[in-house]
Symmetry: C2
Subunit: 206 residues, 2 copies
């Protein structure tokens, strides 16, 4: 399953666990990584993978659906590591710190590891593709869990509505979390991530 | 004088107060506003304004220098209103609120008023043209003045180094202040500006 959610992702067809689907995604990822998402057509992909265009369309209804599947896979990988890093924290403050540090360092790594795949994530963020929307929603969920824990332990203030706190924190992290912005803020990681994190922690003080 | 600073802007030549310079900037602004900055050459501009290309090059050493002058003019207009709005606040908290509200509302207005000129501001932000760098520096200066006032009046905490506080706040405002980001966050103005402002004010609490 390549989606962040448990439902069949929009644009994907046929059995969700089909091995061919995974082959297409992997081959497309390699192809996009080399030639770029924008410059590739489904015909190019089909030729390169060795399947017919019609066969690819049995699994994905468009190039975007393949792009979304690749994006969902990359983002799910980041989220899994972020959750694990946060879980290792002994207090809510430490969990938040670990979450933010992991999130920004992995996002920066993603950028440097493969610019062309990163461009798909930028495109996904701008076009508000479902994987990007689900990614942000999941980050808010992880954050909400940490904030609730911190409130219960009297580490964090309780007056501000939880939803508002989470939205405002995710937005304050946008320069380092949004693929679109991060590429222009890379010089500032990690020093400025720390400054932003300190501002967030001051805002959470009881 | 069209620059944000008092020095002759890079890329501009000849006497700084020359009336021809202003004519070129205004005509270029109209031309860019209609055809876009990217698609226009200095030859197109010259033909449209009715001056020779060589004559335009007496005042600006490149198309970018003209773009920078237009950008500086738009941003200086926003800053003047932001400073006036902040000055009207009775406390540092109110000044900060007015500053942020004016900054975000004028930035959004700028977007809706003229997409093609706004694109120059986006380009300027990405390419780190001097007017964008000076704009951010000036916003930090205005902010620093308000924070110092708030610290002296015991409205704001004094432990965090002033520079760090200012940098972190400007970064938290990036989703609404960066021309690049704002265009994707327009649905969120003004509700989310308020939430971000509240987070910032909580972080400033003594």
């Amino acid at each position: 399953m390549t989606s962040l959610s448990s439902q069949t992702p929009a644009g994907q067809r046929g059995p969700s666990d089909h091995v061919i689907r995974d082959q297409i995604i992997l081959a497309a990822q390699q192809h996009f990584s080399h030639y770029g998402y924008g410059k590739t057509t489904v015909s190019d992909l089909a030729r390169n993978i060795g399947y017919s265009k019609a066969y690819i369309y049995k699994f994905f209804d468009s190039k975007q659906a393949i792009g979304e599947a690749i994006c969902a896979r990359s983002l799910a990988g980041i989220l899994a590591e972020v959750e694990a890093a946060a879980a290792d924290g002994k207090s809510a403050t430490e969990k938040l710190r670990r979450m933010v540090e992991k999130l920004t360092s992995l996002s920066a790594e993603f950028f440097f590891a493969d610019r062309k795949l990163y461009d798909i994530a930028v495109h996904s963020a701008i076009a508000k593709w479902p994987p990007s929307q689900e990614y942000i929603a999941r980050i808010k969920d992880i954050l909400a869990g940490i904030i609730v824990e911190g409130r219960e332990a009297n580490e964090f203030e309780c007056k501000t509505p939880l939803d508002e706190t989470c939205r405002a924190i995710v937005r304050a992290l946008q320069p380092f979390v949004s693929p679109l912005m991060l590429q222009y803020n890379l010089d500032d990681v990690p020093r400025c991530t720390n400054e932003t994190l300190s501002l967030i922690l001051r805002s959470l003080a009881p």
